[in-house]
Protein backbone atom coordinates (compact mmCIF):
# COMPACT_ATOMS: atom_id res chain seq x y z
CA UNK A 1 0.00 0.00 0.00
CA UNK A 2 1.25 3.48 -0.78
CA UNK A 3 1.24 6.03 1.98
CA UNK A 4 -0.78 8.89 0.58
CA UNK A 5 -0.39 11.26 3.52
CA UNK A 6 2.33 12.04 6.06
CA UNK A 7 -0.10 11.09 8.84
CA UNK A 8 -0.63 7.57 7.48
CA UNK A 9 1.99 5.28 9.02
CA UNK A 10 3.83 2.17 7.89
CA UNK A 11 3.63 -1.14 9.66
CA UNK A 12 6.61 -2.05 11.85
CA UNK A 13 7.40 -5.32 13.57
CA UNK A 14 9.01 -5.54 16.99
CA UNK A 15 11.86 -7.98 16.36
CA UNK A 16 13.58 -7.76 19.76
CA UNK A 17 12.77 -6.53 23.25
CA UNK A 18 15.54 -5.87 25.75
CA UNK A 19 14.81 -5.17 29.41
CA UNK A 20 17.10 -2.27 30.38
CA UNK A 21 15.81 -1.21 33.78
CA UNK A 22 12.72 -1.95 35.88
CA UNK A 23 10.77 0.57 33.77
CA UNK A 24 12.73 0.92 30.51
CA UNK A 25 12.73 -1.52 27.63
CA UNK A 26 14.50 -1.16 24.30
CA UNK A 27 12.51 -2.23 21.24
CA UNK A 28 14.02 -3.15 17.93
CA UNK A 29 11.69 -2.28 15.03
CA UNK A 30 11.83 -3.33 11.37
CA UNK A 31 9.34 -3.27 8.52
CA UNK A 32 7.61 -6.64 7.90
CA UNK A 33 10.08 -7.32 5.07
CA UNK A 34 13.02 -6.88 7.43
CA UNK A 35 14.21 -3.37 6.49
CA UNK A 36 14.58 -0.13 8.38
CA UNK A 37 11.35 1.88 8.09
CA UNK A 38 13.30 4.97 6.99
CA UNK A 39 16.66 6.70 7.39
CA UNK A 40 17.18 9.25 10.13
CA UNK A 41 19.83 11.45 11.71
CA UNK A 42 20.80 11.51 15.42
CA UNK A 43 18.22 13.41 17.48
CA UNK A 44 15.30 12.77 15.16
CA UNK A 45 12.12 11.09 16.35
CA UNK A 46 9.42 8.74 15.13
CA UNK A 47 5.73 8.33 15.84
CA UNK A 48 4.90 4.86 17.05
CA UNK A 49 1.34 3.70 17.52
CA UNK A 50 -0.79 0.79 18.50
CA UNK A 51 -4.19 0.96 16.81
CA UNK A 52 -6.88 1.57 19.40
CA UNK A 53 -4.38 2.61 22.07
CA UNK A 54 -2.77 5.71 20.61
CA UNK A 55 0.20 7.24 18.91
CA UNK A 56 3.17 8.91 20.59
CA UNK A 57 6.53 10.43 19.66
CA UNK A 58 9.76 8.69 20.63
CA UNK A 59 13.37 9.54 20.01
CA UNK A 60 15.22 7.05 17.84
CA UNK A 61 17.91 5.71 20.13
CA UNK A 62 19.88 3.70 17.57
CA UNK A 63 22.45 5.46 15.43
CA UNK A 64 21.77 5.97 11.71
CA UNK A 65 25.05 4.13 11.17
CA UNK A 66 23.26 1.00 12.29
CA UNK A 67 22.12 -0.19 8.88
CA UNK A 68 20.22 -3.21 10.14
CA UNK A 69 17.52 -1.93 12.48
CA UNK A 70 16.10 0.93 14.53
CA UNK A 71 15.85 0.93 18.31
CA UNK A 72 13.67 2.82 20.75
CA UNK A 73 14.38 2.92 24.49
CA UNK A 74 11.02 3.51 26.10
CA UNK A 75 10.13 4.21 29.71
CA UNK A 76 6.80 2.95 30.96
CA UNK A 77 4.86 6.06 31.92
CA UNK A 78 1.58 6.33 29.98
CA UNK A 79 -1.00 4.45 27.89
CA UNK A 80 1.08 3.80 24.77
CA UNK A 81 4.26 2.98 26.68
CA UNK A 82 2.47 0.61 29.08
CA UNK A 83 1.01 -1.23 26.12
CA UNK A 84 4.41 -1.45 24.43
CA UNK A 85 5.95 -2.84 27.61
CA UNK A 86 3.68 -5.86 27.52
CA UNK A 87 4.25 -6.41 23.77
CA UNK A 88 6.14 -9.51 22.66
CA UNK A 89 8.55 -10.08 19.81
CA UNK A 90 6.63 -10.36 16.56
CA UNK A 91 4.02 -7.81 17.58
CA UNK A 92 3.32 -5.30 14.84
CA UNK A 93 2.93 -1.60 15.54
CA UNK A 94 2.84 1.41 13.22
CA UNK A 95 5.69 3.81 12.59
CA UNK A 96 6.08 7.10 10.76
CA UNK A 97 8.89 9.63 10.57
CA UNK A 98 11.61 10.77 10.81
CA UNK A 99 10.60 13.99 12.51
CA UNK A 100 12.44 17.05 13.68
CA UNK A 101 15.77 18.75 13.31
CA UNK A 102 18.70 16.49 14.19
CA UNK A 103 21.85 17.38 16.11
CA UNK A 104 24.31 19.15 13.79
CA UNK A 105 26.63 16.13 13.83
CA UNK A 106 28.05 16.71 10.35
CA UNK A 107 28.57 20.46 10.67
CA UNK A 108 28.94 22.21 14.02
CA UNK A 109 30.02 19.08 15.93
CA UNK A 110 32.76 18.10 13.46
CA UNK A 111 36.21 18.28 15.01
CA UNK A 112 34.82 19.25 18.41
CA UNK A 113 35.51 17.71 21.79
CA UNK A 114 32.13 16.40 22.86
CA UNK A 115 30.63 16.39 26.35
CA UNK A 116 27.44 14.32 26.67
CA UNK A 117 25.43 14.71 29.85
CA UNK A 118 22.36 12.55 30.45
CA UNK A 119 20.02 11.70 33.28
CA UNK A 120 17.79 8.61 33.41
CA UNK A 121 15.89 7.91 30.20
CA UNK A 122 17.56 11.07 28.82
CA UNK A 123 20.30 8.77 27.56
CA UNK A 124 17.94 7.44 24.85
CA UNK A 125 18.27 10.36 22.37
CA UNK A 126 21.96 10.85 23.20
CA UNK A 127 22.83 7.21 22.51
CA UNK A 128 22.12 7.85 18.84
CA UNK A 129 24.60 10.75 18.73
CA UNK A 130 27.21 8.98 20.86
CA UNK A 131 27.22 5.92 18.63
CA UNK A 132 27.29 8.15 15.53
CA UNK A 133 30.40 9.89 16.89
CA UNK A 134 31.93 6.50 17.78
CA UNK A 135 31.30 5.28 14.23
CA UNK A 136 32.97 8.32 12.66
CA UNK A 137 35.51 8.46 15.49
CA UNK A 138 38.19 10.42 13.60
CA UNK A 139 35.72 13.24 12.85
CA UNK A 140 35.39 14.18 16.51
CA UNK A 141 37.78 15.09 19.31
CA UNK A 142 37.74 13.75 22.85
CA UNK A 143 34.43 12.41 24.09
CA UNK A 144 33.23 12.67 27.70
CA UNK A 145 30.00 11.06 28.80
CA UNK A 146 28.44 11.91 32.16
CA UNK A 147 25.46 9.71 32.89
CA UNK A 148 23.44 9.39 36.06
CA UNK A 149 20.35 7.60 37.25
CA UNK A 150 18.45 6.94 40.47
CA UNK A 151 20.27 3.63 40.97
CA UNK A 152 22.58 1.23 39.16
CA UNK A 153 19.53 -0.72 38.01
CA UNK A 154 18.12 2.41 36.38
CA UNK A 155 21.07 3.06 34.09
CA UNK A 156 19.79 2.48 30.55
CA UNK A 157 22.09 0.59 28.15
CA UNK A 158 24.38 -0.32 31.07
CA UNK A 159 25.87 -3.30 29.26
CA UNK A 160 26.73 -1.31 26.11
CA UNK A 161 28.21 1.48 28.23
CA UNK A 162 30.46 -0.90 30.19
CA UNK A 163 31.35 -3.31 27.38
CA UNK A 164 31.76 -0.85 24.51
CA UNK A 165 31.88 2.84 25.43
CA UNK A 166 34.21 2.33 28.43
CA UNK A 167 36.62 0.35 26.25
CA UNK A 168 36.91 2.91 23.47
CA UNK A 169 40.05 5.00 23.23
CA UNK A 170 39.46 8.70 23.76
CA UNK A 171 36.12 8.20 25.46
CA UNK A 172 35.77 8.91 29.17
CA UNK A 173 32.61 7.62 30.79
CA UNK A 174 31.60 9.11 34.15
CA UNK A 175 28.70 7.28 35.77
CA UNK A 176 26.85 8.33 38.89
CA UNK A 177 23.82 7.22 40.87
CA UNK A 178 21.68 9.27 43.23
CA UNK A 179 22.17 7.19 46.39
CA UNK A 180 24.79 4.70 47.64
CA UNK A 181 24.02 1.12 46.73
CA UNK A 182 25.56 -2.25 47.50
CA UNK A 183 27.74 -3.42 44.63
CA UNK A 184 28.35 0.13 43.36
CA UNK A 185 31.82 1.53 43.83
CA UNK A 186 31.39 4.40 41.38
CA UNK A 187 30.38 7.99 42.01
CA UNK A 188 27.30 8.83 44.06
CA UNK A 189 25.49 12.13 43.63
CA UNK A 190 23.29 14.11 41.28
CA UNK A 191 24.39 14.81 37.71
CA UNK A 192 24.58 18.63 37.94
CA UNK A 193 26.90 18.45 40.98
CA UNK A 194 29.01 15.72 39.38
CA UNK A 195 29.49 17.86 36.26
CA UNK A 196 30.74 20.72 38.44
CA UNK A 197 33.07 18.37 40.35
CA UNK A 198 34.51 17.03 37.12
CA UNK A 199 35.07 20.64 36.02
CA UNK A 200 35.33 20.29 32.23
CA UNK A 201 37.37 22.67 30.11
CA UNK A 202 35.13 25.11 28.28
CA UNK A 203 36.29 24.35 24.75
CA UNK A 204 33.84 21.44 24.45
CA UNK A 205 30.44 21.19 22.83
CA UNK A 206 27.96 19.97 25.43
CA UNK A 207 24.75 18.02 24.85
CA UNK A 208 22.25 17.64 27.67
CA UNK A 209 19.22 15.45 28.01
CA UNK A 210 17.27 14.40 31.05
CA UNK A 211 14.46 15.46 33.35
CA UNK A 212 13.71 19.23 33.16
CA UNK A 213 15.09 19.83 36.67
CA UNK A 214 18.38 18.10 35.77
CA UNK A 215 18.68 20.11 32.56
CA UNK A 216 18.01 23.35 34.43
CA UNK A 217 20.69 22.79 37.08
CA UNK A 218 23.24 21.24 34.74
CA UNK A 219 22.88 24.11 32.30
CA UNK A 220 23.47 26.56 35.13
CA UNK A 221 26.46 24.47 36.26
CA UNK A 222 28.01 24.59 32.79
CA UNK A 223 27.45 28.34 32.56
CA UNK A 224 29.14 28.69 35.97
CA UNK A 225 32.10 26.70 34.61
CA UNK A 226 32.38 29.28 31.83
CA UNK A 227 30.50 27.60 28.96
CA UNK A 228 28.58 29.81 26.56
CA UNK A 229 24.98 28.77 25.89
CA UNK A 230 25.85 28.64 22.19
CA UNK A 231 28.07 25.62 23.01
CA UNK A 232 25.29 23.69 24.72
CA UNK A 233 22.56 21.68 22.98
CA UNK A 234 19.56 19.89 24.36
CA UNK A 235 16.54 18.05 23.07
CA UNK A 236 12.99 18.81 24.18
CA UNK A 237 9.87 16.76 24.61
CA UNK A 238 6.30 18.02 24.40
CA UNK A 239 2.95 16.48 23.61
CA UNK A 240 2.66 15.89 19.87
CA UNK A 241 -0.05 14.54 17.61
CA UNK A 242 0.93 15.23 14.02
CA UNK A 243 4.73 15.52 14.15
CA UNK A 244 4.71 17.86 11.16
CA UNK A 245 4.05 21.29 12.70
CA UNK A 246 0.31 21.50 12.06
CA UNK A 247 -1.73 20.17 14.99
CA UNK A 248 -0.54 23.01 17.22
CA UNK A 249 0.22 20.96 20.32
CA UNK A 250 3.99 21.37 20.69
CA UNK A 251 3.94 25.09 19.93
CA UNK A 252 6.14 27.22 22.21
CA UNK A 253 6.45 30.82 21.14
CA UNK A 254 6.88 30.85 17.37
CA UNK A 255 8.50 27.38 17.39
CA UNK A 256 7.09 23.92 16.97
CA UNK A 257 9.15 21.37 18.88
CA UNK A 258 8.32 18.59 16.39
CA UNK A 259 9.54 20.57 13.40
CA UNK A 260 11.89 23.33 14.64
CA UNK A 261 13.23 21.04 17.40
CA UNK A 262 13.42 18.74 19.23
CA UNK A 263 17.11 19.71 19.19
CA UNK A 264 17.72 23.27 20.33
CA UNK A 265 20.84 25.20 21.16
CA UNK A 266 20.46 26.59 24.67
CA UNK A 267 20.67 30.22 23.57
CA UNK A 268 17.71 29.52 21.25
CA UNK A 269 15.72 28.26 24.22
CA UNK A 270 16.36 31.53 26.03
CA UNK A 271 14.39 33.25 23.28
CA UNK A 272 11.34 31.06 23.90
CA UNK A 273 8.74 31.83 26.54
CA UNK A 274 9.25 29.75 29.69
CA UNK A 275 6.67 27.07 28.88
CA UNK A 276 8.55 23.80 28.68
Amino acid sequence: MHNSDPLIPKVGTITDVRIDTPDVKTFRVLTPDGKKAFDHMPGQCAMLSIPGVGEAMFSITSSPTNTEYMEFSIKKCGCVTEWLHQAEVGQQITIRGPYGKPFPVDTVFRGQDMLFIAGGIGLAPLRSVINYCRHYRDQYGKIDIVYGSRSKDDLVDYKEIIDEWCNDDGINVHLTIDNPQEGWDGHVGFVPNYVKELGFSTDKTAILCGPPIMIKFTLQGLVDLGFEKTQIYTTMELKMKCGVGKCGRCNIGAKYVCKDGPVFRCDEIDELPDEY
Binding site: H2, L7, E55, T94
Partner: protein
Protein backbone atom coordinates in the same frame (compact mmCIF):
# COMPACT_ATOMS: atom_id res chain seq x y z
CA UNK B 1 -18.78 41.07 -15.49
CA UNK B 2 -22.00 39.08 -15.59
CA UNK B 3 -25.30 39.39 -13.77
CA UNK B 4 -28.48 37.68 -12.74
CA UNK B 5 -31.56 39.02 -10.99
CA UNK B 6 -31.91 38.25 -7.29
CA UNK B 7 -35.29 36.70 -8.09
CA UNK B 8 -33.55 34.20 -10.36
CA UNK B 9 -30.97 33.07 -7.79
CA UNK B 10 -32.59 29.64 -7.56
CA UNK B 11 -32.12 29.26 -11.33
CA UNK B 12 -28.44 30.05 -10.83
CA UNK B 13 -28.17 27.54 -7.99
CA UNK B 14 -29.97 24.92 -10.06
CA UNK B 15 -27.60 25.49 -12.95
CA UNK B 16 -24.55 25.14 -10.70
CA UNK B 17 -26.00 22.05 -9.01
CA UNK B 18 -26.37 20.50 -12.43
CA UNK B 19 -22.60 20.40 -12.77
CA UNK B 20 -21.35 19.92 -9.21
CA UNK B 21 -22.64 19.85 -5.62
CA UNK B 22 -23.33 23.36 -4.36
CA UNK B 23 -23.18 24.48 -0.74
CA UNK B 24 -24.55 27.77 0.54
CA UNK B 25 -25.65 29.46 3.79
CA UNK B 26 -29.16 28.41 4.78
CA UNK B 27 -31.20 29.73 7.73
CA UNK B 28 -31.91 27.32 10.56
CA UNK B 29 -33.40 27.60 14.04
CA UNK B 30 -30.16 28.90 15.53
CA UNK B 31 -28.77 30.93 12.67
CA UNK B 32 -27.29 30.19 9.30
CA UNK B 33 -25.10 27.26 8.34
CA UNK B 34 -23.76 25.88 5.09
CA UNK B 35 -26.03 23.27 3.51
CA UNK B 36 -26.09 21.46 0.21
CA UNK B 37 -28.50 23.12 -2.23
CA UNK B 38 -31.57 21.20 -3.30
CA UNK B 39 -34.61 22.50 -5.15
CA UNK B 40 -36.46 24.75 -2.71
CA UNK B 41 -33.40 25.61 -0.59
CA UNK B 42 -33.36 29.34 0.18
CA UNK B 43 -30.12 31.33 0.35
CA UNK B 44 -29.79 32.89 3.82
CA UNK B 45 -29.82 36.66 4.16
CA UNK B 46 -27.73 36.43 7.35
CA UNK B 47 -24.40 38.22 7.19
CA UNK B 48 -22.52 35.07 8.11
CA UNK B 49 -22.83 31.46 9.19
CA UNK B 50 -22.49 30.40 12.85
CA UNK B 51 -19.60 28.12 12.08
CA UNK B 52 -17.00 29.31 9.63
CA UNK B 53 -16.44 27.88 6.18
CA UNK B 54 -13.22 26.10 7.27
CA UNK B 55 -15.29 22.89 7.59
CA UNK B 56 -15.18 22.50 3.81
CA UNK B 57 -11.43 21.95 3.81
CA UNK B 58 -10.71 21.05 7.44
CA UNK B 59 -13.82 19.23 8.61
CA UNK B 60 -14.68 19.06 12.31
CA UNK B 61 -14.20 15.29 12.23
CA UNK B 62 -12.76 13.11 9.50
CA UNK B 63 -11.70 9.51 9.31
CA UNK B 64 -8.18 9.21 7.96
CA UNK B 65 -7.36 5.53 8.14
CA UNK B 66 -8.47 2.20 9.53
CA UNK B 67 -6.55 -0.74 10.95
CA UNK B 68 -7.24 -4.40 10.55
CA UNK B 69 -5.59 -6.36 13.33
CA UNK B 70 -5.26 -10.10 13.45
CA UNK B 71 -3.20 -11.60 16.24
CA UNK B 72 0.07 -9.66 16.27
CA UNK B 73 -0.43 -8.39 12.71
CA UNK B 74 -1.68 -5.00 11.61
CA UNK B 75 -2.85 -3.78 8.25
CA UNK B 76 -3.20 -0.04 7.60
CA UNK B 77 -6.15 0.88 5.39
CA UNK B 78 -6.11 4.26 3.69
CA UNK B 79 -9.60 5.77 4.02
CA UNK B 80 -8.92 8.84 1.92
CA UNK B 81 -11.87 9.32 -0.37
CA UNK B 82 -11.70 10.73 -3.87
CA UNK B 83 -12.94 14.28 -3.84
CA UNK B 84 -14.82 15.69 -6.83
CA UNK B 85 -15.40 19.31 -7.76
CA UNK B 86 -17.83 21.25 -5.56
CA UNK B 87 -18.94 24.85 -5.29
CA UNK B 88 -19.41 27.08 -2.24
CA UNK B 89 -21.63 30.12 -2.72
CA UNK B 90 -21.81 33.02 -0.30
CA UNK B 91 -18.36 32.96 1.29
CA UNK B 92 -17.66 36.29 3.00
CA UNK B 93 -14.36 38.15 2.73
CA UNK B 94 -13.30 37.16 6.25
CA UNK B 95 -13.78 33.43 5.73
CA UNK B 96 -12.17 33.66 2.33
CA UNK B 97 -9.11 35.31 3.89
CA UNK B 98 -9.04 32.51 6.46
CA UNK B 99 -8.48 29.99 3.68
CA UNK B 100 -5.14 31.52 2.76
CA UNK B 101 -4.17 31.43 6.46
CA UNK B 102 -5.15 27.75 6.69
CA UNK B 103 -3.23 27.13 3.44
CA UNK B 104 -0.07 28.34 5.17
CA UNK B 105 -0.50 25.56 7.71
CA UNK B 106 -1.89 22.67 5.70
CA UNK B 107 -0.21 23.27 2.34
CA UNK B 108 3.26 23.95 3.72
CA UNK B 109 5.71 21.07 3.57
CA UNK B 110 4.71 18.31 4.21
CA UNK B 111 1.40 18.95 2.45
CA UNK B 112 -1.73 17.68 4.17
CA UNK B 113 -3.26 15.69 1.34
CA UNK B 114 -6.73 15.48 2.92
CA UNK B 115 -6.95 19.28 3.01
CA UNK B 116 -5.35 19.77 -0.40
CA UNK B 117 -7.74 17.44 -2.22
CA UNK B 118 -10.74 19.45 -1.04
CA UNK B 119 -9.05 22.82 -1.57
CA UNK B 120 -8.10 21.93 -5.16
CA UNK B 121 -11.63 20.82 -5.98
CA UNK B 122 -13.54 23.80 -4.60
CA UNK B 123 -14.96 26.64 -6.65
CA UNK B 124 -15.44 29.52 -4.24
CA UNK B 125 -18.06 32.14 -4.99
CA UNK B 126 -17.74 35.01 -2.56
CA UNK B 127 -20.33 37.63 -1.76
CA UNK B 128 -19.54 41.22 -0.77
CA UNK B 129 -20.91 42.28 2.64
CA UNK B 130 -23.64 44.81 1.92
CA UNK B 131 -24.65 44.88 5.58
CA UNK B 132 -21.55 44.53 7.77
CA UNK B 133 -22.26 44.21 11.50
CA UNK B 134 -20.99 45.99 14.59
CA UNK B 135 -18.90 42.90 15.48
CA UNK B 136 -17.03 43.07 12.14
CA UNK B 137 -13.39 44.20 12.11
CA UNK B 138 -11.94 42.60 8.98
CA UNK B 139 -10.62 45.98 7.87
CA UNK B 140 -8.10 45.82 10.74
CA UNK B 141 -6.45 43.01 8.78
CA UNK B 142 -6.61 44.87 5.43
CA UNK B 143 -9.46 42.68 4.22
CA UNK B 144 -11.86 44.40 1.82
CA UNK B 145 -15.39 43.12 2.50
CA UNK B 146 -16.57 44.99 -0.63
CA UNK B 147 -14.26 42.97 -2.89
CA UNK B 148 -13.72 39.62 -1.23
CA UNK B 149 -12.14 37.77 -4.17
CA UNK B 150 -12.36 34.00 -4.51
CA UNK B 151 -12.87 32.26 -7.85
CA UNK B 152 -15.99 34.29 -8.52
CA UNK B 153 -16.88 37.47 -6.66
CA UNK B 154 -20.48 38.60 -6.26
CA UNK B 155 -21.83 42.03 -5.42
CA UNK B 156 -25.55 42.31 -4.74
CA UNK B 157 -27.10 45.66 -5.71
CA UNK B 158 -30.51 46.93 -6.79
CA UNK B 159 -32.12 43.50 -7.01
CA UNK B 160 -29.27 42.15 -9.11
CA UNK B 161 -26.28 39.91 -8.42
CA UNK B 162 -23.14 40.99 -10.28
CA UNK B 163 -20.63 38.21 -10.78
CA UNK B 164 -17.01 38.62 -11.73
CA UNK B 165 -14.49 35.85 -12.32
CA UNK B 166 -11.34 36.37 -10.29
CA UNK B 167 -9.41 33.26 -11.32
CA UNK B 168 -9.14 31.07 -14.41
CA UNK B 169 -11.15 28.47 -12.58
CA UNK B 170 -13.83 31.09 -11.91
CA UNK B 171 -13.83 32.20 -15.54
CA UNK B 172 -14.36 28.65 -16.77
CA UNK B 173 -17.06 28.16 -14.19
CA UNK B 174 -18.98 31.30 -15.17
CA UNK B 175 -18.68 30.60 -18.90
CA UNK B 176 -20.68 27.43 -18.48
CA UNK B 177 -23.52 29.12 -16.62
CA UNK B 178 -26.19 30.07 -19.10
CA UNK B 179 -28.39 31.51 -16.35
CA UNK B 180 -26.11 34.55 -16.06
CA UNK B 181 -25.90 37.21 -18.73
CA UNK B 182 -23.26 39.78 -19.67
CA UNK B 183 -23.58 42.94 -17.58
CA UNK B 184 -22.96 46.34 -19.10
CA UNK B 185 -23.94 48.23 -15.94
CA UNK B 186 -20.80 47.57 -13.84
CA UNK B 187 -21.32 50.98 -12.30
CA UNK B 188 -24.16 49.65 -10.13
CA UNK B 189 -21.82 47.08 -8.58
CA UNK B 190 -19.05 49.62 -8.14
CA UNK B 191 -21.44 52.06 -6.49
CA UNK B 192 -22.54 49.37 -4.06
CA UNK B 193 -18.91 48.55 -3.27
CA UNK B 194 -18.24 52.22 -2.51
CA UNK B 195 -21.24 52.25 -0.16
CA UNK B 196 -20.02 49.10 1.58
CA UNK B 197 -16.63 50.70 2.19
CA UNK B 198 -18.34 53.77 3.66
CA UNK B 199 -20.41 51.58 5.99
CA UNK B 200 -17.30 49.74 7.12
CA UNK B 201 -15.54 52.98 7.97
CA UNK B 202 -18.40 53.86 10.31
CA UNK B 203 -18.39 50.53 12.17
CA UNK B 204 -17.58 50.74 15.90
CA UNK B 205 -14.39 48.63 15.45
CA UNK B 206 -13.26 50.39 12.26
CA UNK B 207 -10.25 51.93 13.99
CA UNK B 208 -8.97 48.82 15.69
CA UNK B 209 -5.24 48.72 15.08
CA UNK B 210 -2.88 45.76 14.83
CA UNK B 211 0.20 48.00 14.97
CA UNK B 212 1.12 46.98 18.52
CA UNK B 213 1.35 43.31 17.52
CA UNK B 214 3.33 41.11 15.16
CA UNK B 215 6.32 38.80 15.05
CA UNK B 216 9.24 39.27 17.41
CA UNK B 217 7.08 40.55 20.27
CA UNK B 218 6.92 37.37 22.32
CA UNK B 219 8.90 38.69 25.25
CA UNK B 220 7.13 42.04 25.12
CA UNK B 221 3.73 40.48 25.80
CA UNK B 222 4.28 37.04 27.29
CA UNK B 223 4.81 38.15 30.90
CA UNK B 224 2.37 41.06 30.77
CA UNK B 225 0.41 41.07 34.06
CA UNK B 226 -2.76 41.97 32.14
CA UNK B 227 -3.18 38.32 31.05
CA UNK B 228 -4.45 37.53 34.58
CA UNK B 229 -7.26 40.03 34.31
CA UNK B 230 -8.10 39.17 30.69
CA UNK B 231 -8.32 35.44 31.33
CA UNK B 232 -9.87 35.59 34.80
CA UNK B 233 -13.37 34.60 33.70
CA UNK B 234 -12.46 32.31 30.79
CA UNK B 235 -14.38 29.06 31.14
CA UNK B 236 -12.10 27.15 28.77
CA UNK B 237 -15.18 26.09 26.80
CA UNK B 238 -13.39 26.36 23.48
CA UNK B 239 -16.33 28.02 21.70
CA UNK B 240 -14.00 30.71 20.33
CA UNK B 241 -11.75 28.11 18.73
CA UNK B 242 -14.62 26.16 17.23
CA UNK B 243 -16.28 29.16 15.59
CA UNK B 244 -12.93 30.66 14.58
CA UNK B 245 -12.18 30.41 10.85
CA UNK B 246 -8.41 30.34 11.43
CA UNK B 247 -8.06 28.08 14.49
CA UNK B 248 -6.58 24.90 13.11
CA UNK B 249 -5.30 22.83 16.04
CA UNK B 250 -6.38 19.24 15.81
CA UNK B 251 -6.37 15.97 17.69
CA UNK B 252 -5.81 12.51 16.28
CA UNK B 253 -7.68 9.71 18.03
CA UNK B 254 -8.51 6.07 17.57
CA UNK B 255 -12.03 4.68 17.75
CA UNK B 256 -12.90 1.03 18.02
CA UNK B 257 -15.95 0.45 15.85
CA UNK B 258 -16.36 -3.10 17.08
CA UNK B 259 -15.20 -4.31 13.69
CA UNK B 260 -11.83 -2.64 13.76
CA UNK B 261 -10.08 0.57 14.70
CA UNK B 262 -10.53 3.82 12.83
CA UNK B 263 -8.15 6.72 13.29
CA UNK B 264 -9.80 10.10 12.94
CA UNK B 265 -8.79 13.71 13.15
CA UNK B 266 -10.98 16.28 14.87
CA UNK B 267 -10.82 19.92 15.85
CA UNK B 268 -9.14 20.55 19.17
CA UNK B 269 -8.55 23.65 21.24
CA UNK B 270 -5.48 25.05 22.96
CA UNK B 271 -8.02 26.39 25.50
CA UNK B 272 -8.60 22.85 26.81
CA UNK B 273 -6.76 21.63 29.91
CA UNK B 274 -5.60 18.35 28.38
CA UNK B 275 -4.34 19.87 25.13
CA UNK B 276 -0.69 19.75 26.22
CA UNK B 277 -1.06 17.19 29.02
CA UNK B 278 1.33 14.27 28.72
CA UNK B 279 2.61 11.50 30.95
CA UNK B 280 5.25 13.70 32.58
CA UNK B 281 2.97 16.67 33.20
CA UNK B 282 1.39 19.68 31.56
CA UNK B 283 3.24 22.75 30.30
CA UNK B 284 0.12 24.92 30.53
CA UNK B 285 -1.59 24.08 33.80
CA UNK B 286 -3.68 27.22 34.26
CA UNK B 287 -6.44 28.69 32.11
CA UNK B 288 -4.42 31.89 31.99
CA UNK B 289 -1.57 30.08 30.25
CA UNK B 290 -3.94 28.43 27.78
CA UNK B 291 -5.79 31.70 27.11
CA UNK B 292 -2.49 33.48 26.54
CA UNK B 293 -1.34 30.77 24.13
CA UNK B 294 -4.39 31.27 21.87
CA UNK B 295 -3.98 35.02 21.56
CA UNK B 296 -0.18 35.04 21.45
CA UNK B 297 -0.42 32.55 18.60
CA UNK B 298 -2.77 34.74 16.58
CA UNK B 299 -1.14 38.07 17.31
CA UNK B 300 2.57 37.25 17.63
CA UNK B 301 3.65 33.68 16.84
CA UNK B 302 1.70 33.22 13.59
CA UNK B 303 2.81 36.56 12.08
CA UNK B 304 6.39 35.77 13.12
CA UNK B 305 6.34 32.68 10.90
CA UNK B 306 4.15 34.13 8.14
CA UNK B 307 5.49 37.47 6.91
CA UNK B 308 3.46 39.50 9.37
CA UNK B 309 0.08 37.95 8.55
CA UNK B 310 -2.07 37.70 11.67
CA UNK B 311 -4.03 34.60 12.60
CA UNK B 312 -7.31 36.51 12.71
CA UNK B 313 -9.61 37.79 9.98
CA UNK B 314 -11.98 39.93 12.05
CA UNK B 315 -15.12 37.88 11.36
CA UNK B 316 -16.44 38.73 14.81
CA UNK B 317 -17.81 35.27 15.60
CA UNK B 318 -15.92 35.08 18.90
CA UNK B 319 -17.37 38.47 19.87
CA UNK B 320 -20.87 37.17 19.29
CA UNK B 321 -20.45 33.69 20.75
CA UNK B 322 -18.17 33.84 23.81
CA UNK B 323 -20.34 33.13 26.88
CA UNK B 324 -18.36 35.55 29.04
CA UNK B 325 -17.95 38.20 26.31
CA UNK B 326 -14.19 37.91 26.16
CA UNK B 327 -12.63 38.14 22.72
CA UNK B 328 -9.62 39.07 20.63
CA UNK B 329 -10.74 42.70 20.30
CA UNK B 330 -10.69 43.14 24.08
CA UNK B 331 -7.28 41.48 24.19
CA UNK B 332 -5.94 43.78 21.48
CA UNK B 333 -7.38 46.87 23.12
CA UNK B 334 -6.14 45.94 26.58
CA UNK B 335 -2.63 44.91 25.58
CA UNK B 336 -2.24 47.34 22.72
CA UNK B 337 -2.34 50.41 24.95
CA UNK B 338 -4.27 53.66 24.88
CA UNK B 339 -3.87 54.20 21.13
CA UNK B 340 -6.02 51.19 20.47
CA UNK B 341 -9.04 52.07 22.60
Amino acid sequence: MRKISMDSLSALFEAISGTMPLFLPVDGKEGASYKKWEPGTEYSKALNTNKSAKDFFFPQVENMMAFKTEGKNIEVLDLKEDVGPFAIFGVRACDLASFSILDRVFLSDPVDSFYKARRDNAVIISVACSRPQETCFCSAFSIDAAAPGGDVECVMADGMVYLEAKTEKGEAFLKNLEAVTEASDERAAEAEQAKIRERIEKLPLANLSTDAFGGGKTMEYFNNPLWDELSANCLGCGTCTFVCPTCQCYDIKDYNTGKGVQRFRCWDSCMYSDFTKMAHGNIRNSQKERFRQRFMHKLVYFPENNEGIFGCVGCGRCLAKCPISMNIVKVMKTLGGADNA
